[in-house]
């Protein structure tokens, strides 16, 4: 074994990592990510199994059902590389053992990847970029693209290396405390940010006027007694004092929105979100909810409610 040891060097492993970005490319209803999985391992398998029959067996072995989170596949790929390398060098690891490790890891890891990447990192980085982009700031999309891909590539590479070094010992570690902790921590931070996003970005403005009260003289700017020209504008601005001074108008208009905001700002958006959650739990398709909201927006606008 010592004289004809084949090992995967860093370039091979990097090539596998690069291929792994196409894991979902041939996603299909029958065996899901199996084609992408085989494609990912090809650079390594080619090197490990120079014999044609061995390579054929290895390729067939890796075309069975596989499905996990596309990024969390990386540690599994690392472990598989380590196992296949041992096997190619003559250890007695059979195909079923390798299969067992793959299946054993893909479930729990998918459960980590979804909350961490799709529900925490992407909404946060996406909202950060989008809030800048809405005002036309080009930095928004650039920040999103750069931050996301730095995190992603670092994750793909280091977890694959980690899996490769740890070999099958990782399986224990993965189901253990640390990952659980990362997932829970991500959910906490994710929920915090979601709360903030709902407050900031779900915009509902009710326009109906609840009350219209005349303000006492001296409480509003008396437009007729202002000096003319620029001096008058300056005077008015001083009196208005960014909304903290005198009112602009004779009447104090309170809309339904003002009333709701005095309870807690963003209440309407929060209630709408809860309604959507309830509908989703009732198995209403998100697409119908989205269409429904547009219809409501149009109809309520016609009725002068929104």
């Amino acid at each position: 074994m010592a004289d004809k040891k084949i090992s995967l060097n860093k370039a091979d492993r990097f090539s596998v990592m690069w291929h792994s970005q196409f894991l979902q490319g041939s996603w299909n209803y029958e065996r899901m990510q199996n084609g992408g999985w085989a494609y990912t391992l090809i650079p390594a398998l080619r090197k490990l199994y120079p014999d044609k029959a061995d390579l054929s067996a290895a390729l067939q072995r890796h075309l069975v059902f596989f499905n996990t989170h596309p990024y969390l596949a990386s540690p599994i790929i690392g472990v598989t590389l380590a196992l296949e390398e041992d096997r190619a060098n003559g250890s007695k690891i059979d195909g079923t053992a390798i299969q067992g490790v793959k299946v054993g890891m893909m479930g729990p890891l998918a459960g980590v990847g979804d909350p961490v990447f799709w529900y925490t990192v992407r909404p946060i980085v996406g909202a950060l970029g989008a809030s800048m982009a809405i005002n036309g700031n080009i930095l928004g999309p650039i920040l999103f693209f750069v931050i996301w891909n730095l995190i992603r590539i670092a994750f793909l590479w280091y977890t694959q290396e980690f899996g490769y070094r740890a070999g099958s010992a990782i399986t224990k570690d993965m189901s253990g405390g640390l990952l659980q902790k990362v997932t829970r921590g991500a959910s906490m931070m994710g929920m915090f940010v979601l709360g903030a996003l709902i407050q900031r970005w779900v915009s509902i403005k009710f326009v109906p006027i609840v009350s219209k009260v005349q303000i006492q003289k001296g409480g509003y700017i008396d437009w007729n007694s202002l000096p003319s020209g620029a001096a008058g504008v300056k005077d008015a601005l001083t009196q208005y004092n960014l909304g903290n001074g005198l009112a602009l108008d004779k009447f104090k208009v309170t809309t339904l929105q003002n009333n709701l905001d005095s309870l807690i700002p963003g209440l309407a958006g929060l209630l709408l979100t809860f309604l959507c959650m309830w509908l989703l739990k009732k198995k209403v398709s998100p697409i119908w909810i989205i269409i429904g909201i547009f219809v409501v927006g149009i109809v309520f606008h016609l009725w002068n409610i929104l």
Binding site: N28, R31, S187, C276
Partner: protein, 268 residues
């Protein structure tokens, strides 16, 4: 629009279609896709703004297990093309957002079709594996990825083939109340994405974090980064206190495991 622009749009659409399934570089996210369409058509600012608006709506859209999320790729690409061709400038963003939704549904069906075709492709891969012909497996993997790219590139090309005047007329024949209503709907519809995420993540343990986040966000001086820092600190404190109360401290392990996400969070 000249020939080069048309080609570039189709290329961007192809990338977005690929990414719609691969989910790696995020070319299919509206923030990136609309910006790129804006860039190649010379409407960068407009594309960025539409991208930001659609991204807010699509934040929670992710394909998990059997749950099917609307397709962000077709929605982003097609609505950006319509916005650019309509020539209404920023006033058209509300309508473009509204148009994006049915497109997101259409994209969903197209994905299903390609995923079904891929079933046949992996059977070809099986046959090539028996012959240990790895080169052909690579080729077929690329065919499958390219089909996902065409899923968006073909509709984009078809939209480009429609004369600008037709698009303009269709958009300008839309009454203002419809446009205004769609803009209002676009402001509310972001709630659906958030609701999807909350339904997946919520547990008794994390609701207080949600409440604090909601209440603090009303303070306009706090930027999203500041809010992120507060949320992260709260989560770290919670976990640290919890492990102190438990049997052994586990907090020093993060960097030793080589888990870059943990490291990123630590370095935040």
């Amino acid at each position: 629009m000249n020939a080069i622009q048309v080609i570039l749009i189709v290329v961007v659409a192809f990338l977005a279609g690929m990414e719609g399934i691969l989910d790696q570089w995020q070319f299919h996210q509206p923030l990136v896709a609309c910006t790129l369409i804006g860039l190649v058509t010379g409407n960068l600012g407009l594309g960025v703004m539409l991208g930001g608006q659609l991204q807010m709506i699509a934040l929670g859209w992710a394909n998990i297990g059997a749950a099917v999320a609307p397709d962000a790729a077709l929605a982003a690409i097609a609505s950006a093309i319509i916005l650019v061709k309509g020539g209404q400038g920023t006033a058209g963003i509300g309508t473009a957002t509204g148009v994006a939704i049915p497109l997101a549904v259409a994209g969903l069906f197209l994905t299903m079709i390609v995923r079904t075709i891929s079933t046949a492709i992996v059977h070809i891969m099986d046959a090539e594996a028996k012959k240990s012909n790895w080169r052909m497996i690579n080729v077929w993997q690329w065919v499958a990825v390219a089909l996902q790219g065409l899923r968006i590139a073909i509709p984009a090309a078809a939209l480009l083939a429609i004369p600008s005047d037709t698009v303009k007329n269709a958009l300008s024949s839309m009454p203002t109340w419809l446009n205004a209503g769609m803009t209002i709907g676009g402001g509310m519809v972001v709630a659906v994405g958030y609701a999807m995420v909350i339904n997946m993540m919520a547990s008794r343990e994390v609701w207080p974090f949600f409440a604090i986040g909601f209440a603090l966000a009303a303070i306009q001086n706090l930027t999203l980064i500041a809010l992120g820092a507060i949320g992260l600190s709260l989560a770290l404190m919670y976990l640290a206190l919890e492990s102190k109360g438990g049997n052994n401290g586990n907090s020093g392990n993060n960097s030793a495991t080589g888990d870059p996400l943990g490291d990123v969070i630590d370095d935040y």
